[in-house]
Amino acid sequence: MSLRERLASGGFAVTAEISPPRGASTDPVTKLAGYLRDWVDAVNITDNQGSNVRLSSWAGSLAAMAAGLEPVMQMTCRDRNRIALQSDLLGASALGIRNILVMTGDHPKFGDHPGAKPVFDLDSVQLLWTLRTMRDEHTLLSGRTLNPPPDCFLGAVENPSAPPLPFRAERLGKKIAAGAQFVQTQFVFDVAAFGQWMAQVRDLGLHEQCHILPGVGAVRSRRALDFIRDKVPGVHVPDDVYRRLRAVPEDQTAREGERLAAETVRQLADIPGVAGVHLLVAGNEQAVAGILAEAGVRTNEAGGRTNEGGVRTNKAASDGR
C-alpha cells in the first residue's frame, strides 16, 4: 500500500527519514532502508539537510525504491531556482518518485558552505503552487504546456511551535490552498502545545483537506538533546522533557529517548485529526522498530494484532509493497 493509499484509507501512517551520505555511494541508504522497510509506509530522503552537501535527494530516493521502500523526496527552495525545481519534479516523476515534500530549507549560513548564494527564488508556498499547477493544469510557471504532466503527491512542512503562533494554522491553510495534500511537522516535544495548534487546524477544517503527520524525535544522547534544543532552528524542548532526559544515567539516555518517543506517538495518535506520525530519527534508524512496537501502532508479528492504542496494526504495512 502506498503512502497515498494508506492516508486515503484512513489508516495510521508512519514515515521516517534517511539522510543520504556525504559520498558517491547509495549503499548507506540501502542499508538504512533495511531497518525501516517493514515498519514505515514511506521514508523521507532529505535534501542537503542543514545546508550540508550530501548525495542528492532524487538519487537517494531511487536507492530507497530499489530497496523496496517508498521514498518521499524532499525538495528545498534554498539551492535551485524555478527552472531547476520544475525540471527536478519532471525527472523525479518520470523515474517513479511520487511523494514530494516541499520546504523552504535552512539558510546556507548553517551548513558546510556558509558562503554559498542563498537562492530562495520561490518560497515553499509558491513551489507547492507551481508543482500543483504542473500536475493539474499541465503547465509550467511560464504557461507552457507539459506533455505528459507529472504525477505527484504533494507534502508540506509546518512548525506548530514557532511564532507567530496564531498564524501557524492559517499558514498551513495557505499551503493546502497552494497544493499540499499531506503535512509533516517539526519535532513535537510539547504535546499540549501541539494539541492547541490542532484545535485551530480543526476549527479551520484543514484536517479534512490534508493529512497531518506530527514529527516525533528519539533523542539518543545528552549531546543530541542539547543540539536539538539549542541548535535546530524553531524547535521547542519544554523544561520537563529536558529534565526527564537528563535525569537518567547517560548510558540510558537513548533508551529513555525511545520511551519518550513511543509515549509521544501514542498521545499524538489520540488527537483528533492526526493521520499518522513522522519519525525524525535520521542517524538512529534502528530505533524505529522499537518505538513503533512500544507505541502499539505497529507490531512485527505476522497476523497483525490490534494494539492497546487501538490505532492500527501491523505487518500489513509491509505486505502491500
Binding site: D123, L141, S161, F167
Partner: protein, 180 residues
C-alpha cells in the same frame, strides 16, 4: 545588498492612512503617466522613492511592493525573501533564524497587521516575483495597474492576469473573508 530584517520606522496606523491616500485614482494615474513620459522625471521619482522607502522600511527596490498586505513590514528583508509567511526556524522569542538579534519580519508583520484588524491579509497567496523588475518604482507600477497580479486568492491561477487587485484584497480583509 543582503536582506536584513527591518522594523519599519513608520507606525502602522499612519501606514494604513497613507495607503488610503495613495490608492490608485485618476489623479495618481495621470501623474504617474506624466512621470513615465520623461526619462529624467522617472529617474528622479524612482530615486526619491528608493530613499524614502529605504529609510522607512529597509526597502531593497524589488519593484513589486507587498507592503500593503504585510502590515507594512517588508518581506524582502527576510533572509530567505519569503513572501508567503514565516519559515519554520523562528525562535521562541520571535527572533529571526539567521539574525537571532533581530525580530522575524513575519512576526512583526503579523503583530502590526493584527493590531489594525488586518491579520487576514497574511492569508493571501503571493505569486513568485519577476526578478527583471528590481530597481523599478513600485509606486509607478502600482498606479499604472501593473502590480495587480502580485497576490491572489486560492484556486487562482498562477497566471498574473487573474490576480486580485489590492482594493479587492483590502475590502475582503475588512469583511474578514478568507481568501484561501
Amino acid at each position: 545588498m543582503t536582506p536584513v530584517p527591518t522594523h519599519p520606522r513608520l507606525g502602522v496606523r499612519m501606514a494604513y492612512r497613507l495607503q488610503r491616500v495613495l490608492r490608485p485614482n485618476a489623479g495618481w494615474r495621470r501623474l504617474s503617466a506624466g512621470i513615465e513620459a520623461s526619462q529624467t522625471a522617472r529617474r528622479l521619482f524612482t530615486g526619491a522613492e528608493r530613499q524614502a522607502k529605504q529609510d522607512l522600511f529597509g526597502c531593497r527596490m524589488c519593484g513589486q511592493c507587498a507592503l500593503p498586505v504585510t502590515g507594512y513590514v517588508c518581506p524582502m528583508g527576510c533572509p530567505k525573501e519569503l513572501r508567503n509567511g514565516p519559515c519554520g526556524g523562528v525562535g521562541a522569542d520571535g527572533s529571526c533564524e539567521v539574525y537571532p538579534e533581530l525580530q522575524c519580519v513575519w512576526v512583526d508583520a503579523y503583530e502590526r497587521a493584527a493590531s489594525q484588524g488586518r491579520a487576514s491579509d497574511l492569508r493571501l497567496l503571493h505569486r513568485p516575483i519577476d526578478h527583471r523588475r528590481w530597481g523599478e518604482s513600485s509606486w509607478l507600477n502600482y498606479w499604472q495597474g501593473r502590480d495587480e497580479g502580485l497576490w491572489g486568492a486560492a484556486g487562482a491561477s498562477l497566471d498574473n492576469a487573474a490576480g486580485a487587485s489590492l482594493d479587492n484584497a483590502a475590502g475582503a480583509s475588512r469583511d474578514n473573508k478568507v481568501y484561501w
